[in-house]
Symmetry: C2
Subunit: 163 residues, 2 copies
């Protein structure tokens, strides 16, 4: 019998890419990790997310701690893929994105954001809400025990020819 592999990361295949893209397209909120300016340690909060081609979009309040943190340090991470009400959270697939925050044009994304987040119409136009683009540097897909994959930004884009 061959020895067990030590590296639990599998070679990326089309099934992994399709699963990652499905998680991205279905996500309406995510856990956002930022670097807390005071301590330099991680800080995780929940944010609403959208998806724009190769990047995540987040609508955040300038009063929030994560926004202040991202302005000081754009390195960030998103965890997507919420378990269903009865699903096992550790076998439910989830996707970690390693991202870098940059400003986005809130006016440009208004219609698509409100289509996915209708309740955000109550505060979308408030001056203290801004949109950030979280450009993906790399990604890590956990499809359940023993199904881990490392993905590149291009793995998250729809395949050529797809709608």
């Amino acid at each position: 019998m061959p020895p067990e592999p030590i590296d639990p990361i599998r070679p990326t295949d089309d099934e992994a890419r399709a699963l990652a893209r499905r998680l991205l397209s279905e996500a309406r909120h995510a856990a956002l990790g930022v670097i807390e300016p005071e301590t330099g340690g991680p800080f995780v909060t929940r944010v609403a997310v959208g998806w724009d081609g190769g990047a995540a979009l987040v609508l955040v309040s300038t009063l929030s701690q994560h926004t202040r943190a991202l302005r000081a340090e754009p390195a960030s991470s998103l965890l997507l893929g919420e378990p269903g009400p009865r699903g096992d959270p550790l076998t439910h697939p989830r996707l970690t994105l390693l991202t870098r925050a940059e400003p986005a044009d809130k006016a440009v994304h208004r219609a698509s954001w409100l289509a996915q987040h209708p309740k955000a119409g109550l505060y979308y136009d408030f001056a203290d809400f801004l949109m950030l683009r979280l450009a993906v540097r790399s990604a890590f897909l956990n499809g359940g025990f023993g199904k881990a994959f490392r993905l590149r930004p291009e793995d998250l884009r729809p395949p050529a020819g797809a709608a």
Copy 2:
């Protein structure tokens, strides 16, 4: 009319403390934020959690990226409080813990862990799974829009006289 307060953090009260303790006691999994050794940026994954008095417990694989990261840098963060299937994720209360990872004795916590995570019996005793204690340095409760509180570790402990 008085001007709107700029700091959105409210003074901590007993209702906030009780809500935070409820989120802790109900949580079975959480989003864990760590510092990725390669980049120094945040990395968010999902882990199973337990609660032991003043600290969170996590059962992690030594093969996982978050375990490797925590061994290099114990500063970490947990986001607790999953929205229900139809709840609005941004009005559902959630709790961010700022934590520091340290070794825990897996044998000591076996019974209580398996009572809360029965499926973990399949791998709890594997040598490549270890338990870490995430000691709380501070916490941040978001009870919904306009209901943000900063909590100290002692706010998360049951009040004197409680069971």
